[in-house]
């Protein structure tokens, strides 16, 4: 890519990343949440790969890493849901943490934690799909 694209990407990518994290963390307060924020974070990663080129071996290593992250995020989500079996009213998916004050960043019990897990999962999954397509195209050249 040209140095214009590279420079702009370098400037913008951090902002996009932070915005994604903001959307995920405010999932229980404002519109958006894990899925939307995760998609934005995946966008930041995809922008980087597009601007800074694609070395096949590095891409394959990245794909392995992001698919591990994906599985870990889902397992974390499941684990949080299953922990509810053993705490409080002992019901699956029960919100067992203190709820806090409505409107505070740290409130709503487990829901922000679920949002974080969903955010990592969506970001990793979208990035893995993108990498799989790039690798497929590079291999068939």
């Amino acid at each position: 890519m040209t140095s214009i694209v590279k420079t702009v990407t370098r400037l913008v990518v951090g902002v996009i990343f932070i915005y994604g994290i903001y959307i995920i963390l405010h999932g229980h307060l404002t519109p958006g949440g894990g899925f939307a924020g995760g998609a934005i974070i995946a966008g930041a990663f995809i922008l980087l790969v597009l601007a800074y080129g694609s070395d096949m071996l590095k891409l394959k290593a990245k794909e392995a890493g992001s698919s591990v992250m994906e599985s870990l995020a889902i397992l974390a989500f499941l684990l949080m849901a299953v922990v509810a079996f053993f705490l409080g009213t002992k019901v699956f998916f029960h919100n067992y943490l203190p709820k806090g004050i409505i409107g505070d960043l740290i409130s709503a019990g487990v829901i922000p934690l679920y949002n974080i897990a969903v955010g990592i999962e969506v970001a990793a999954a979208l990035f893995t799909i993108f990498l799989a397509l790039v690798i497929f195209k590079e291999e068939s050249k």
């Binding site: 591990v68 870990l72 397992l75 499941l78 849901a81 299953v82 009213t89 019901v91 699956f92 029960h94």
Partner: protein, 500 residues
């Protein structure tokens, strides 16, 4: 007691996402954990069935209590109908996963296969258990999307084409179902199935509900491959790896097609004669056309796939007769008998179609050929496969004392008692057609002269043999369900759920 219900979703999902992590380190992890998970769920299901609890179990996910009598939580409901479906799903899944241990060794990416397998079963368990319409749609998509990927698992030209066709038609079905759910939410302002049925009972007849029913019949008809919507099934079910074909034909089209359709039509909507007639006509078309198309097939697995369309026609026919009798305020005993026959045939078909696809996989494993014209005389080389295939063929064609005979007999008796003589005649006729094409299959593969171009016949590994023998024994043992004492425990609760 009801706290074990979420396990049906949690354990397959946990297994599905542990496999890509642990499977990287221990290559045997995927193929050991998958059958174990389904075995555990199967034992849980049978334990519940034998515990003799008659009232349905409900479970509020998240512990949300109803507000002003309006349910907010997602409900999981286990009653007689869902119990037999759950047990059948996990039984066939266990045997198919056990069969896969040897069968899948020739493929690469085993971990991906087992992950998708677990996801598909988690989706089906969820569809069967949930009492919430939107939740049902989500699980339905989990099961459907993983089955698209599994059909394409061989990544050859035919597999990809079949998977693409399946995805397009399956996507259309999901769209229609989602539209119907949206309209229903708009009309009733709730998504809980029990709640919707109360509201519909008060609202009475109106045009939008009829439209929703038509949308649902089309959507689930596509998923269940009723005849005008069947084009994807022969391609998809014959291209998948054999244990997956057994899962798709044996279970998937019933769990996410037939089961949901009848759960909604019987328990959510008020039965009307017009809808019952529609179902019956589609059923007869599936039964007759599926059977006739199967005769001409030259590909082993395509023949079995067409036979699935025909046999699902039997299940739908029995349910259709039951609905017509109930809608006309006829005798409840006749309707109960018809529905009993349908449910019995549903379980039986899962068993013998699972067996037949596993036989097809064994023959393909031994010779690498699926074309009936190029096979022959294998009885000498594969005596066990020949015997299990014979058992499956006799069961599916309805020869006593195999299980298929009793379920077809009940359906025909119910049709005669309800004075639908033509339907009874067609059911008997298609049974003879079924016998004809299964005898053709049996002769072309196992009894004719051994062709010279087959160089060697490989041995069938132990796990494949074991699964096939277990299903063959079940083909015979399922006849026991007709004995009154056993019938009262297994089938009658399910019939009562649908009739009330």
């Amino acid at each position: 007691m009801e706290s074990f219900l979420p396990l049906y979703m949690v354990t397959p999902l946990a297994a599905a996402f542990l496999i890509p992590l642990v499977g990287r380190v221990f290559s045997a992890f995927a193929r050991t954990i998958t059958p174990l998970v389904f075995l555990l769920l199967l034992i849980l299901g049978i334990h519940y069935l034998l515990s003799g609890i008659s009232s349905p179990l409900t479970y509020e996910v998240g512990g949300w209590q109803p507000v002003n009598g309006i349910p907010i939580a997602i409900y999981l409901v286990l009653d007689g109908f869902s119990t037999i479906l759950l047990i059948t799903i996990n039984l066939i899944a266990f045997l198919a996963a056990f069969y896969s241990i040897s069968y899948m060794k020739k493929y690469t990416a085993e971990n991906n296969y087992y992950t998708l397998f677990c996801l598909m079963v988690a989706g089906m368990n969820g569809v069967v258990l949930t009492g919430d319409l939107f939740n049902l749609y989500v699980f339905l998509e989990i099961a459907a999307i993983s089955s698209y990927a599994l059909v394409a698992f061989g990544v050859e030209k035919t597999e990809l084409e079949a998977s693409f066709k399946y995805q397009v038609l399956g996507g259309m079905a999901s769209l229609l179902i989602l539209l119907a759910i949206g309209l229903l939410y708009w009309a009733t302002s709730t998504l809980n199935i029990t709640d919707i049925s109360h509201i519909l009972m008060i609202q009475g007849d109106n045009k939008i509900i009829l439209f929703i029913q038509i949308l649902l019949i089309t959507g689930f008809g596509l998923k269940a491959a009723m005849v005008p919507f069947h084009a994807w099934l022969p391609d998809a079910h014959s291209s998948a790896p054999s244990p997956i074909s057994a899962m798709l034909s044996g279970i998937l089209i019933k769990a996410i097609g037939v089961y949901v359709l009848f759960r909604l039509l019987f328990n959510m909507f008020t039965l009307t004669y017009e809808i019952a007639l529609t179902i019956t006509v589609l059923a007869v078309l599936s039964m007759v056309i599926g059977g006739i198309l199967a005769i001409g097939q030259q590909d082993y697995k395509r023949l079995l796939a067409y036979s699935s369309i025909s046999q699902v026609g039997y299940i739908l026919l029995a349910m259709g007769i039951g609905m017509m009798v109930l809608a006309q305020n006829g005798a409840k005993e006749i309707a109960a008998l018809a529905i009993l026959g349908g449910l019995f045939h549903l379980i039986n078909h899962a068993v013998f179609k699972g067996l037949m696809f596993m036989n097809a996989g064994a023959v393909e494993h031994a010779t690498g050929i699926r074309d009936l014209a190029k096979l022959g005389g294998l009885a000498k080389w594969l005596p066990l496969t020949s015997a299990t295939s014979f058992t499956g063929s006799m069961a599916i064609s309805g020869i006593p004392p195999f299980s298929g005979f009793f379920s077809k007999l009940i359906i025909i008796i119910a049709a005669i008692q309800a004075n639908y003589y033509l339907l009874a005649f067609l059911a008997a006729l298609v049974s003879i057609i079924t016998l004809a094409y299964f005898l053709k299959l049996q002769k072309n593969i196992f009894y004719a002269t051994f062709p010279e171009h087959i160089e060697r016949v490989r041995k069938i590994p132990f796990t494949m043999k074991c699964s096939m023998v277990m299903l063959a024994i079940l083909c015979l043992a399922m006849s026991l369900l007709i004995i009154p004492g056993i019938r009262d425990i297994v089938l009658i609760p399910a019939v009562e759920v649908l009739i009330d």
